[in-house]
């Protein structure tokens, strides 16, 4: 935590985090390389899956939610990679460190930006997925947005923190998915369960998995907020 009083931090944190968030968006929309790559990657996984299991219409409905979330997790573990390696490569991390802001603003800004990118990619892929796997996405779009939001937030919080951890490691491109995927087991299980409920013949919103997702988000947002400073120190 910074030496400033909590009140001062509370005042400066949101604008500082917003500034970081906008900076990330600006950087990304100059090239859009991260978004393009992620969308194509998710599409490839969806297609490869149907090759490998050759599901019937009924099976596609059953396996769809699991496949969808696996694709999102893989996409997340690749997409979150550059969150900090980019800063190290261009040595902008030292400018960020020196900025007169609370370090957690960097975390929250980056989590928000990653959340935005991954959500964007997910919603772009959903209609395609619905058509290819014969799943009616549109009637449950409201509850689905909630499940996707809570799950994606969990992926982005853990992924952003882990990206800061692995940025200085050897083999970091391999290491991030390796740390992230088992860690996200609760998110995967709960999100798949909730999504299966929505895609069932009679759609239902299951609350227990939503509670697990929300608990995951709250616990790790708090943990990342308290511990993040350790990850970017020199």
């Amino acid at each position: 935590m910074s030496t400033k009083s909590p009140a001062a931090v509370a005042w400066t944190l949101p604008p500082a985090a917003l500034a970081i968030f906008l900076r990330e968006l600006r950087a990304e929309f100059r090239t859009r390389e991260l978004l393009n790559t992620t969308v194509v990657f998710v599409l490839i996984i969806v297609v490869m899956f149907s090759f490998s299991l050759n599901p019937s219409a009924q099976q596609a409905r059953e396996f769809g939610p699991g496949l969808l979330w696996l694709a999102f997790l893989f996409a997340g573990s690749l997409m979150l990679q550059p969150a900090f390696t980019r800063e190290l490569a261009s040595d902008t991390i030292s400018s960020l460190r020196m900025a007169p802001i609370d370090p957690s603003a960097i975390l929250f800004g980056k989590v928000a930006a990653n959340f935005f990118f991954l959500t964007f990619a997910e919603w772009l892929m959903l209609p395609v997925f619905g058509v290819l796997f014969n799943v009616p996405v549109w009637p449950v779009v409201g509850p689905l947005a909630m499940v996707l939001g809570l799950g994606t937030l969990g992926v982005c919080v853990a992924g952003t923190a882990f990206s800061a951890m692995t940025a200085q490691a050897r083999l970091r491109e391999l290491l991030l998915p390796l740390l992230l995927l088992p860690f996200l087991a609760p998110v995967l299980v709960a999100a798949v369960d909730a999504t299966s409920g929505l895609f069932a013949e009679v759609p239902e919103l299951r609350f227990t998995p939503l509670k697990i997702l929300a608990a995951f988000d709250v616990i790790f947002l708090t943990a990342a907020w308290l511990l993040f400073e350790n990850l970017i120190e020199e």
Partner: protein, 227 residues
């Protein structure tokens, strides 16, 4: 003096393990429905509990490191993590050995099996992360944060995976109505658990000393190069 302490310590652990092994085969009564194969329970469950203790030790050492910034907390963390993974591996190996004759299958994606497997994966990835961070101080800090994240993740893993239909026997110890362990079985189990805890403490201590010696070697060779 240190040599004598080592031998004595190892002797105590070996004696405890011998007593526990004898108790498992000759003192514990035969289980009614499963027969002799149930005796694997003493090693299986006691190893599981021992690995939980080791992982809790990792968590405490992680917090202590972030708080005090003394490298010896990091040595304790890595030692306990390695030993915890070893005990967790014993659980994962003895489980299928027990399951095959009783359930007829080696493995099933049941709640407790799956979550133990994820637990094992999490601490293996903790060790992998450490091995790929070259600088000792950075390694200690980053892995301490990851260790705390991991420990917080464990209850969520267990809760979320509980939805899978469970095939594993319900908790026999403190499981609720109708569950319960024969008094002699309990005693044998506690003897085994004590022996395994002693073994764990012994291994962690040895591993800790190794880490501390490594650190001394690093310092000396750094001093030589600098001089």
């Amino acid at each position: 003096m240190r040599g004598f302490g080592n031998v004595a310590g190892a002797g105590v652990v070996a004696a405890l393990l011998g007593v526990a092994g004898y108790a498992v085969f000759f003192v514990a009564p035969q289980e009614v429905s499963m027969g002799d194969i149930q005796r694997i329970f003493y090693v299986h469950v006691a190893s599981a509990w021992t690995s939980f203790v080791a992982f809790f030790l990792v968590f405490l050492a992680n917090i202590a490191y972030l708080w005090r910034r003394q490298l010896h907390w990091d040595w304790l963390a890595v030692s306990a993590a390695e030993v915890g993974v070893a005990f967790c591996s014993v659980v994962l190996v003895t489980g299928p050995l027990w399951a095959k004759p009783v359930w007829g299958i080696w493995w099933t994606w049941d709640a407790r099996l799956t979550s133990t497997f994820v637990l094992w994966l999490l601490y293996v990835s903790y060790l992998l992360l450490r091995s790929l961070l070259p600088d000792p101080a950075r390694r200690a800090t980053i892995s301490a944060v990851f260790g705390i994240f991991t420990f917080l993740d464990v209850p969520l893993v267990y809760m979320s995976i509980r939805w899978f239909r469970t095939q594993h026997p319900q908790p026999v110890i403190a499981g609720g109505e109708g569950s319960g362990l024969d008094a002699v079985m309990w005693q044998v189990f506690l003897v085994m658990w004590t022996a395994l805890l002693a073994l764990m403490a012994r291994l962690v201590w040895q591993r800790y000393r190794l880490e501390s010696l490594r650190h001394q070697v690093d310092e000396l060779s750094f001093g030589l190069r600098a001089g």
